[in-house]
Amino acid sequence: MMVTAVTAAAIVLGACAGDHAGAGNRNSSGPRNGVTDSGGTGNVMTSTRVDITGAGATFPYPLYARWFNEYAQYANTRINYQSIGSGAGIRQVVARTVDFGATDVPMTDAELAAAGMRILHIPTVVGAVAITYNLPGLTRPLNLSADVIADIFLGKLTRWNDDRLVALNPRVTLPASDILVVHRADGSGTSYIFSDYLTTVSPAWAAGPGRGKEVPWPVGLGGKGNEGVAGQVKQMPGAIGYLEVVYARQNRLPVAHIRNQAGRFVSPMPFEIATAATSVLDRLVSNSRAATDLRVSLVDAPGAQSYPIASFTWMLVAPDAIGAVKSQQLGAFLRWALLENGDIASTLGYVPLPTEAAARVVDQAEALLSPPAAHP
């Protein structure tokens, strides 16, 4: 039993030894790693079981739980994750009470500077925000454009049969009723992604409420959690709200098709959401900042097929704080999860990183997760 575990670990770690063979042995000669490693020698081929703890965002929790569970049976690494919210996840990483954090909202430059250590943002999966509505008489999906969405949530566009909405939806009859806006009342990554989109596409929104996990919504009711928003929209004819796309799909809620940069109306389906990530990353390749910083926003992504309200969710790792062994174990896990087990994400309704993007993220993460000595 032990033998198979060791072999398995060796195979995994062997897979990533190409870039920096023997990196683990730098532990003794390399500069301070800050924390003593559970492995002692720092040899990644160790047969000692490594325990890693993480905490943060609730959105990827079901996926992380599955991934960590399956990975524990595959490698000799046990990863424990608690879903306590993005904000709390960031706080815990900075306080060094966990080995990694998870967030739907990237840390700001100021937060990173205040943390006083290298903190990597590693995208693990793509999320998206769907716009759901309650229009009983509607026979086909509602079409919306960026300016109309912004004006509805700003309270400037108040009737369903407004000329601008009618122009977007020529083949359906929209009711002559008030638009009832529902937003999230609790601070959430979903609100951040949605307000990030509104800030990007609407100067009026940017000058007004702005982007954040909780913003001062000009109109509407607040629902607690995705279920709170969904519940209120379901019950109020004429309501419109936004929620996390996995939740919308699992509950078979009607979702609007949104006009993207290219002028096409796209639905929040896995392919369209993944395309947004691919097109943004492609644009970044030429950008030198992308070499170490993956805190990119996917909203209003270019590309004919891109769904415009998408976002990464990130794992936060401070390699210098947790030491070489744990860093490399996390690197190995990321390779296993993102390159070989993206289908676990798909079966749970998440959108895995597109193959090319995943390869890029894994290579970069492994390079950054090796000890600093490897990067003079």
């Binding site: 919210g85 993005s86 409420p209 702005g210 982007r211």
Partner: protein, 316 residues
């Protein structure tokens, strides 16, 4: 072991146990105060008077929360206090003997229901009922009065007050029942012997004697109502504005704290949340203190008159 030593040990243990309660409260207040200090020292005025809650811009005005908390609790008590005392009277004086115990038990069951279940019931039963029938009817017939104007969303101050009323009802009812039962039998019999009807007996002999305790039950209910979080946030609409109508969505301090605390990472935002928590603690303490003073006054009057009201026109 000599009994004196045992007594000492016992006394010390009891003292420690008793001191632990105020110590926890003090610690809570200290932690909240320390956390809230950045807000208290620089932005306490806006916190109490402004209505804008803008996290990205660091503008924190909690006036709508204070109003929402006080108004929803006040309405809840206005509904629950007469109901609770009525239920208690029914279960002690009026109902057939065989039904009294089951009735009291059923009312107490209300206290055993988790608040999230109340919230769900509110979302699926109460709120649709309000939106479809009660609100439109009230607007049509009472719309001329302030506080009954639309639009009828459903989630509203009224929905929260009704849910709170149901939630605090068992507390008021069970305390009231206990104090009514504690009224001496002799007093009831004396009233009846003087030719009082059952209602006159309750009005003149039972309720005045139980006044202090009834008040205590209502205050206990108020304490529950002020701090209730989950059920309220599910039906109140969570809108950060001062409500101009019973049908308008509103927000309470407890609901806002529950919603925003988990995801707050900005130091100023955290500090503002701590300040609101401190405010909630202060309001709760003040309400309780005020109630105690009133109860003490009522109790003094009671002892002065032996628990019986003076006949009208007779100076005490």
């Amino acid at each position: 072991m000599p009994s004196r030593t045992a007594d000492r040990i016992y006394q010390a243990t009891i003292t420690i146990c008793a001191a632990a309660i105020p110590a926890v409260l003090a610690l809570l207040a200290i932690v909240l105060f320390a956390g809230a200090w950045p807000t208290l020292s620089s932005a306490i005025g806006p916190l109490l008077t402004q209505s804008t809650w803008d996290v990205p811009q660091h503008r924190f005005g909690a006036a709508p929360l204070i109003v929402g908390t006080l108004v929803s609790s006040a309405f809840a008590l206005a509904i629950a206090a007469p109901l609770g005392i009525g239920v208690a009277l029914l279960a002690t004086e009026i109902a057939p003997r065989a039904l009294r115990e089951p009735l009291a038990f059923l009312v107490n069951l209300l206290a055993a229901i988790p608040s999230v279940v109340y919230g769900l019931w509110g979302i699926f039963v109460l709120v649709p009922l309000l939106r479809r029938s009660i609100m439109p009817w009230s607007m049509a017939h009472l719309g001329w009065m302030p506080g009954f104007s639309g639009p009828a969303y459903g989630p509203s101050l009224l929905a929260a007050a009704l849910i709170l009323a149901i939630m605090v009802l068992p507390y008021i009812a069970s305390v009231s029942r206990d104090v009514i039962l504690a009224v001496p039998r002799a007093q009831r019999e004396a009233a009846l012997a003087l030719g009082a009807t059952r209602w006159e007996m309750i009005r003149d002999a039972v309720l005045p004697a139980a006044r202090t305790g009834l008040f205590g039950g209502i205050i206990l209910g108020l304490g529950r109502a002020l701090g209730e979080t989950m059920a309220v946030t599910m039906v109140i609409g969570n809108r950060h504005t001062i409500p101009d109508s019973l049908f308008a969505p509103a927000y309470t301090m407890a609901a806002m704290l529950a919603n925003e605390f988990a995801e707050a990472s900005d130091p100023l935002h955290l500090s503002a949340l701590m300040a609101v928590a401190l405010l909630l603690l202060t309001v709760t303490l003040l309400v309780n203190l005020l109630a105690r003073l009133l109860v003490a006054r009522v109790a003094r009057e009671d002892t002065a008159t032996d628990g019986l009201p003076m006949p009208p026109g007779v100076a005490p």
